[in-house]
Amino acid sequence: MSKKTWMAAVSVAALTGMVFGGAGSAKADELFVFNWTNYTSPEVIEKFEEETGISVTLDVYTSNEDLMAKLRAGGATYDVALPSDSYVARMIEEDMLHAFDARSLSNFDNVTEPHDAPYYDPERQYSAPYMWGTTGIGYNKAALEDGEELEHSWKELFEPREQFQGEIGMLDEIGDVMQAAAFYLDIDACTEDPDDWRQIQELLLDQREHVKVYSATGTDASLVSGEILMHHMWNGAAHRAWREDSNIDYLYPEEGVVFWADNMVIPNSARNIENAKKFINFMMSEEAAAMTSNFTGYSNTVRGASAMLSDDLRESPAVNVPEEFGDRLKMIPPCSQRSDELRDRVWTRVLQ
């Protein structure tokens, strides 16, 4: 190689170093947070940075499984991550989380029931609550006849009335769909009995001809535009749709409503544990919780935060679970491997 080529190579290397360097350097006053997109209020982060002098770097993920796969492989050193309920249980079981005893944090006293002692972490050793929500049925009232009312039942989704046939949207989230079907058929969603799964499969196959789309993206937009008249959806999306069109309503089926909760955890690989604790404590403050809810459109778990919520959040039918429906909320538990196999087989058969 000639001198010129060497010089060129060296300068390219130097430039590369400048561009790629810096990412790995660890400083004392920083914090790496791993969350869903648009699930962390920028104002809250700003406030936290101002109060503590800790600089926050936010990265995003798209599913619990992705988060888990990534943390399992190692190498990704996040200080705070936000898995949903059953995934907290799985991560504890797999020894992926750092025990930091959320109850010892000063703001934990603000946490309301039942979020202070959930089944997946009853002692709150490894996790602290963030946002929670439900998976139910959103629909457009404009499709109803005068005086017609829908039952609060999964029947409306699985065996739809005539005007909703062919206009149904289902989440393409296997866990949510199977749990809903299991609720409707009054079957334990963790069943290992093939006959139970056969029943679920039949229900979903029969429903399939009425389903226009299986999708988890843009469910709010499909409902508002009238493209879909009834959607199996997360309540946050139903809330956003309702904000656009007050004809959008949300059903809490009597057989059971899936209730999920996202949690702040400290992965084992975290490097800034003290900062992570400060952050988690800060997020459980009334003000931060209210600001986060206002930004995300999901409910928080902090007593006293409701006074600071925006008006539309306080009035939304999708966010405020009517008191009489409170006992309908149930979480999706982690099931056995055998049960999951059967579940996956049913899902693949339905969408083959």
């Binding site: 590369t16 561009v19 790629f20 990412a23 790995g24 790496f32 791993f34 869903w36 997109t37 648009n38 699930y39 920028p42 770097t57 936010l58 990265d59 995003v60 993920y61 798209t62 992705d66 796969a69 990534k70 492989a73 190692g74 190498g75 990704a76 050193t77 996040y78 988890a216 993206t217 843009g218 709010d220 937009a221 508002v224 535009s225 997360w234 946050g236 999306a237 956003r240 749709a241 904000r243 656009e244 995300t296 459109g297």
Partner: protein, 269 residues
């Protein structure tokens, strides 16, 4: 047929009826959705796909959002490095595979170079992540760039090879006969002839890298989120016109870069 004898190139070429119409149709097909994307970036509604009124607000919001800007910047850095490195490697490989004698095991080499195409992204993603962690490489822009370079190679290699195939080898031979050395022959003869292939390969590699989501997500480390990862993360919280505004800004950047490149190349010639 009437003006056949007039026949400088352009005249006879107009003889394919409907070709211009076909091309026009092609560009409409290409740009119609894009116009929609840009149009919706001016939508005042938080739900990107529901038009309620005109606003310019998303642009200042994007330009003030450090996370989005960092993600966009990361995307551009990775795409630039990965596509350039992949194109250089692919050019050399294409030269090896098409100049001179045919090799034994040519198919094996061709197959290996196309391998990144054949493996579904998620499998490559998990495999590469485990590999990087196993060799102790810290996750970040460097690992993303390395992983992108791999799957960019076939996208650069195939157009360049297609260009080289059937190219008249006597030109390079002639250069040697005129006592050009290997380098001179490459820079004065092969490279100019190869240029359309290289440009095609580079552009394809660039857009493939810019759009990649799954592999990027897995091999990225703290602080190295790219734009696609940011956008896919919106699934639970709703897609806002913010991403349309980012898209429109990226289109603007691409237009500026292309214009500058064209002006520069014109000045040279």
């Amino acid at each position: 047929m009437a003006n056949r004898t007039a026949a400088p190139k352009p005249v006879s070429l107009k003889r394919f009826p409907g070709l211009a119409t076909g091309a026009a149709f092609f560009f409409v097909y290409l740009y119609l959705p894009i116009l929609f994307v840009v149009f919706l970036s001016f939508n005042e509604n938080r739900i990107a796909t529901i038009w309620t009124g005109f606003t310019f607000d998303w642009y200042p919001l994007v330009l003030g959002n450090a996370d989005v800007l960092r993600a966009a910047q990361n995307s551009l850095i990775v795409a630039t490095f990965a596509s350039v490195i992949a194109t250089m490697a692919a050019t050399l490989a294409a030269l090896a595979m098409t100049q001179g004698r045919a090799m034994r095991r040519q198919e094996v080499v061709n197959g290996s170079l196309a391998l990144p195409l054949l493996i579904p992204e998620i499998v490559t993603a998990v495999a590469t992540l485990i590999f990087f962690v196993a060799i102790g490489m810290p996750l970040g822009l460097l690992t993303i760039t390395a992983a992108h370079t791999v799957f960019c190679i076939p996208f650069a290699y195939l157009p360049i090879r297609a260009r080289l195939e059937g190219m008249d080898p006597s030109l390079r031979e002639a250069a040697f006969d005129l006592y050009a050395n290997e380098r001179q022959a490459f820079f004065r003869v092969t490279l100019p002839l190869l240029w359309p292939g290289i440009l095609s390969g580079l552009l394809l590699a660039f857009i493939v890298s810019l759009d990649n989501f799954v592999i990027t997500f897995f091999v990225s480390g703290p602080g190295s989120t790219t734009l696609p990862v940011y956008i896919y993360g919106m699934i639970r919280t709703g897609v806002t016109p913010e991403v349309n505004a980012v898209s429109a800004l990226l289109l603007l950047v691409s237009l500026v870069l292309v214009t500058v490149a064209l002006l520069l190349s014109r000045r040279e010639t």
